[in-house]
Symmetry: C2
Subunit: 195 residues, 2 copies
Amino acid sequence: MEALDNLIIKLNRLPGVGIKSAQRLAFHILAMSDEDAQALAGSITEAKARVHYCPVCGNFTENELCSVCADQKRTSELICVVESARDVIFMERIHEFRGKYHVLGGVLSPMDGIGPDELRIKELLSRIENEGVKELILATNPDVEGEATASYLAKLIKPLGVRVSRIAHGIPIGGNLEYVDDVTLAKSIENRREM
Amino acid sequence: MEALDNLIIKLNRLPGVGIKSAQRLAFHILAMSDEDAQALAGSITEAKARVHYCPVCGNFTENELCSVCADQKRTSELICVVESARDVIFMERIHEFRGKYHVLGGVLSPMDGIGPDELRIKELLSRIENEGVKELILATNPDVEGEATASYLAKLIKPLGVRVSRIAHGIPIGGNLEYVDDVTLAKSIENRREM
């Protein structure tokens, strides 16, 4: 069945959707009412048509600026640099950060052909020049590429007279020494704080 | 962001897609090229428009009859009764069954208001009457509703002079007694075969 197979293939290409899940989803969609299936297809088209990148920070928005950049009460003096627009949601959930964001749109990854020019670094430098930025928090993920990207940015931006900090690595709150991996445990010793 | 939230809500309603997965999928879709996103939405619309139920067995098809019912080499003397069209795919994968199928479209579940009239049982009786059916294999799932549905069908159909059988329950091949649940283990003793 061509149309069904095609739907399964398309679903299978989504992240985290294996072939079994794609089959289950496809059969679920076929069993949906026509209205519900149309609403699902329509929500994809609609989101693609209406959502675009914020020209300032690179976050997703349906308006001219994203809600963070448009918020007059938030300061541009403190900018949190993240890999993707999704990370903004995670950071916003803690309701504590009152600065703004800058979405890189990825991390440095020479193997995949992603160098500094493929990320929104030029835009970051121009914000530092024009928005009176005093501190940059580098919140890329604590993996190889995320650390390399943070190091690269720190080396590039510290000479401009901006404070550059990195989010802390260590034992998660509520975590247990037994179940923490060795690298994190080593980091938690290295980054120990005097009490 | 209305369009993004709407997409996340719609994806979250799919089976096995939690709120975190729905978010990840939605952001992935936003990052897709316009063509790929359109192809995904289009494959949903297309599948819904072209795929329908086989009027004989209730399987999904894009033609008048499903591929199994249209296959002249397969016999109607042996009919395998399954819950859903997806189960037909699983059965077909073993390449051994040469009879036909009958898809019930669910299982008896009085709590959810699903009685015999909500399943394709009338259609099954009419096939038994008209297609020279000699044996019915009940392949509903081995859970409470699946067993109840199999019992109901056996009681209903055995008096019509048709052989009715149930798929075997027991230890999976390559399985290990240690990891098999108690009910399955008990079944494997109860259904033991002389060697």
